[in-house]
């Protein structure tokens, strides 16, 4: 597994899960699963990566919602305590709008937006991992971008300042 792939996994979970600790836990799980699957599966690794991460993200989100969003009851590894800031954001970036849309919508088409525009995975891989047509993927991307735009417009959530 390359540095870029590990980074992609960590960033993906950071953006699609509502909490940093959950994202770290999901990242650990995804890396473990992918290391095991890599030997057995003959699938393109990037496709496998997208599939695995999407599945874990869905599961973690479900767990988070079933635990009434109370992470105090969740037992995270102690090693996480030493990592105060897992991801470093540019000073100009605010993820408040993104978090808001994630909380409000939680739509899986946002996953596509992360894969395609944040992590810049090739569309073909995303299509293969999504197991739907190219047109469907493009339509969902269009929808999610439009949704994000509506949150960012004047009167909605601001961006470009620290959250």
């Amino acid at each position: 597994m390359t540095e870029a792939q590990v980074r992609a996994i960590a960033v993906f979970f950071y953006y699609v899960l509502p909490h940093e600790l959950l994202a770290m836990e999901a990242t650990d799980k995804a890396i473990k699963e992918l290391k095991a699957k890599k030997k057995k599966s003959e699938e393109i690794f990037e496709v496998l990566l997208i599939k695995t991460c999407n599945k874990i993200a869905r599961k973690k989100r479900k767990e988070y919602l079933s635990e009434s969003k109370d992470l105090a009851q969740h037992n995270f590894p102690k090693a996480y305590d030493k990592i105060k800031e897992p991801l470093i954001k540019p000073s100009t970036l605010s993820v408040a709008a993104w978090r808001q849309i994630l909380r409000d919508e939680g739509h899986e088409s946002l996953y596509l937006l992360v894969w395609a525009h944040v992590l810049e995975f090739p569309i073909d891989y995303i299509v293969l991992a999504s197991e739907c047509s190219h047109g469907t993927v493009m339509h969902r991307l269009s929808q999610s971008l439009n949704l994000l735009g509506s949150y960012l417009q004047p009167g909605g959530q601001s961006w470009g300042t620290n959250a």
């Binding site: 540095e3 650990d28 990592i83 800031e85 897992p86 991801l87 992590l119 810049e120 269009s142």
Partner: protein, 343 residues
Amino acid sequence: MPKVHLTKFVCKELVYDYLTGALDASRREKFQEFLNEDLELKKKLDRNKHALQYVGELKKIELSEAYQSYLSEAHDLGLVEDFVESPVVSHEEKAPQSNIWSDFWSERGELLKLIRRTTEALSLAIVVFLVVSNLPKELFDFESKDKPTLLLTDKNKVGSVESPATTHGIEDEDEVIADDINEEAEETAAQVASSEKKETPVEKPEKKQASDSSSKNLAANVASKNADSSSSAAVAKAEEKEPAKKNFYLYRSIIYVQDLIAVSDEFLTYLEANGAKKAGQVKMGWEKNRSRYFHFHIDESKREEMEAILSKYAPFRLNRYDHWRKTPEGKMRAIVEIRQKAN
């Protein structure tokens, strides 16, 4: 250039394609025409542009060194280099990595796989061995399936044995031994048939013991005879070294006669008159097909007389073969088969 017809509705759906440059030139031109006319479409385009710019900011995020080293240690990833600035995962990344740690772990993975497979194979072999070793030996003793159970009738009469002498008149000893087995099989078959009429007081454990030892001794005899034929000097040395080992013999022959009944009756009369006793399981002169079968004990001194009687009808000589079965001292065991000569 083909004329493209676009509606306002379709143009709204094509905003994403317009922004990502996925529209062809004619559609792009048409889209721009609508954009100048439709304020709502322009607003949507601005919103999407805004969103794309925001997403462009999102991708500038990087892992902290602490998190990077944690992931490297926790998953043995060997992430020793700085993360690349571009997060693009290209096809080239599928090429083998020149990372020492990756190579080490991949090699170790292969080694572990090899060890696992070897262990599985060994376990399987052990299981098969245990299963096979616990199965009854009769299942694998294919030769003895055709063999009868040999009965040792003269066991109690064992005394000292005659001195070993050279074997003569043997053309194919293995064939003779095989014949002997067949003869005894026939005898056993006859005994089974006769035992239905009257019970013979034969101890079963003895039978089994005799059967087991017979096959072993037969094999030993074949081996020893092969050794004899290969080197007589070696045999002499072996005899010197093992004086305790004594040989026993079986005399046997087959004679073809014109008048089966007359000759066999004469021979039977002679045997009965000279104290011969049946040695096998069937009576002396047992009839089978077009022959009569004599398996008996008699004084060794009568050998020449017997040969003389039967030589009147056809050339006859009793051939001597090594045999595992013990013979009482001064006695000889013989099998003579008188067969009807074909016309």
